[in-house]
Amino acid sequence: MQKSRYGRFGGQFVPEVLMPALNELEEGYERYKQDTKFLRELNYYLSEFAGRSTPLYHARNLSKKYGTKIYLKREDLVHGGAHKLNNTIGQALLAKYMGKKRLIAETGAGQHGTATAMAGANLGFDTVVYMGAKDVERQKMNVYRMQLMGTKVYPVRSGSMTLKDAINEALRDWVSNVQNTHYLIGSVVGPHPYPMIVRDFQSVIGKEVKQQIMEKEGRLPDSIVACAGGGSNAMGIFHPFIADTDVKLFPVEAGGCGIQVKGRTAMHSASLGAGEEGILQGARTLILQDKYGQILESTSVSAGLDYSGVGPELAYLADIGRIKPDSVNDQEALDAFHELCRLEGIIPALESSHALAYVRKMADSGELGDLVVVCLSGRGDKDLETVVKLKGVTCEGKI
């Protein structure tokens, strides 16, 4: 297998102008990932700034209700309220070591943008975040948060005005400013080496889980469940368990308003489950597209899962059967959101609620086993406005 590939997935499908930058990034990463000074500094930021390690919390009430022991990996407690900072602090530090002065990023929910703004402010970068205009509307608080930390937020009005378009715009910026700028991609997507770098920085989640579950239970879990948009929290928690083939791995995608297509819009965001092979934003992967290869817009109640593609390594792991993708729809996610609030006193992100909904859906099937770890990728404070507006009704009028 070529280094840039996961089976036939992955690769570097980018304009020629970016090839030197990708090569430089790969060289920089290979060099610093074994540099003791870099690693010491990274660990310092992860513990002192991000607040790691995060607890592996035994959700007693949820466990009781579903008759299986459920642990929540509390990435919602990472500084900023989501797993995103694990990656942004890693990449920002790498960019600093590589001598870059400026960070650009795309954001969907605003979580990655916020995490980039945090890392950027702390490490002294000029930071610019591209965000779909529709997401700017849905996630106003995150826009304010970024601006407070000195980041410029550009609303993107092209295409579907969501994450995919924000990535396009960030790529365009990078093409123009490639010499002094690091493009800080927020998930395990894009051209090599990004899927690898983001996975590695997010793997801290899975590494901690492995140690914590051994301490608490003396054994590995039967299954691990994580939501998947681009797939970074999923790859992060799965990766250290890939070789442990007894541990079942379930990425849960956004089923939105149903697995169907209406015009140029998929009513869901389930690229692993319902996508087809193609090339999007630098990588060969599974994508939502029409019969000619035009990219479809995606749908989800959660901005962070609303994306037409998925990381190439997840596409590969699904292809070889190591992970088993599934999806839950908007309503199921919302129900799980409310349930966790009431049963455990934890307000989960709508993204993470998809993973919780999958546990609800599958608990009776026995599929998940007796010991389940759910990646609680983020907290739901950012979603309150959405949830209040919906008042429980998600898809009316859309299909």
Binding site: E16, V175, Y292
Partner: protein, 259 residues
């Protein structure tokens, strides 16, 4: 017509080439046919016919908007190849599109359809040489030129690899950034041109919008200029389009000589 033959003919007449880009189907198939004709009448030597993609990352707002209009009006690869086959102007046609549309149709079939509809070359801005093996093979089989880009940040080693794989012409991206009309000629244009050491014709694109700039690029040693957004801007205005396309093509082509 083959690209090579076109450049040979131009060379014999001591002429430089104008390569004009339009987005197929913007705003309709029939209009595109007329626009191509007008451009050729004005002096375009090669026409780049864009096959619109929903997510054109290498393009700026002008061409993205044109792509959206064309897609909205129903353009797709099937219609595109019919359109290409129906263009009778005596110039080589080059297909410019993004890789997913090619991959989805099947690389071999896509290139075969290009050849069958009279397209002589293909430019794929999101396909660097490392990923282009399948395309190169299919292009060889069907005698279609695979045209690659070099940029101000492409180093000598990469350039040599690109020159050895590409054919037709070398597309020199004159500045960092995406497509879009600009008024100046980047300093970087001269620097890249000086670095490009190949027997293939050198075509400079990205940001050229008028006769004066084009003339400067030619004076700096280019064999051709590629003009896209400036033509697309005229099309999007929907005001006297054919006459203005022809005039701008003429201004640029004629401008090569004067400076």
């Amino acid at each position: 017509m083959k690209i090579e033959d076109k450049f040979r003919q131009l060379k014999k007449n001591n002429e430089k080439a104008l390569i004009a880009y339009v987005c197929a189907g913007d705003p309709s198939v029939d209009a595109t046919r007329e626009y191509v004709h007008a451009l050729v009448k004005g002096g375009a030597d090669i026409v780049e016919l864009g096959l619109p993609f929903s997510d054109p990352v290498a393009d700026g707002p002008t061409i993205q908007a044109a792509s959206d209009r064309a897609l909205e009006a129903g353009m797709n690869p099937d219609i595109y190849f019919e359109l290409a086959a129906s263009i009778k102007d005596p110039v080589p046609l080059v297909c410019m599109t993004y890789y997913n549309l090619i991959f989805r149709r099947g690389v071999e079939k896509f290139v075969k359809d290009c050849a069958a509809s009279g397209i002589s070359g293909i430019i794929v801005p999101d396909l660097p040489i490392e990923e282009a093996e399948d395309m190169l093979k299919a292009c060889k089989t069907h005698d279609v030129d695979m045209i690659f880009m070099v940029t101000p940040v492409t180093d000598k080693g990469r350039m040599q690899k690109i020159f050895s794989k590409g054919s037709g012409f070398i597309y020199i991206v004159s500045r960092l950034g995406v497509t879009g009309a600009r008024d100046d000629v980047a300093e970087s244009t001269k620097e890249v041109l000086a670095k490009v050491n190949t027997s293939l014709p050198k075509a400079v694109g990205f940001g050229i919008s008028g006769g004066k700039q084009a003339a400067q690029v030619i004076a700096a040693g280019a064999d051709a200029v590629i003009v896209g957004s400036a033509f697309v801007n005229i099309i999007s205005s929907q005001n006297n389009v054919e006459r203005r396309l022809e005039e701008l093509a003429r201004e640029i082509k004629f401008g090569f000589g004067i400076q």
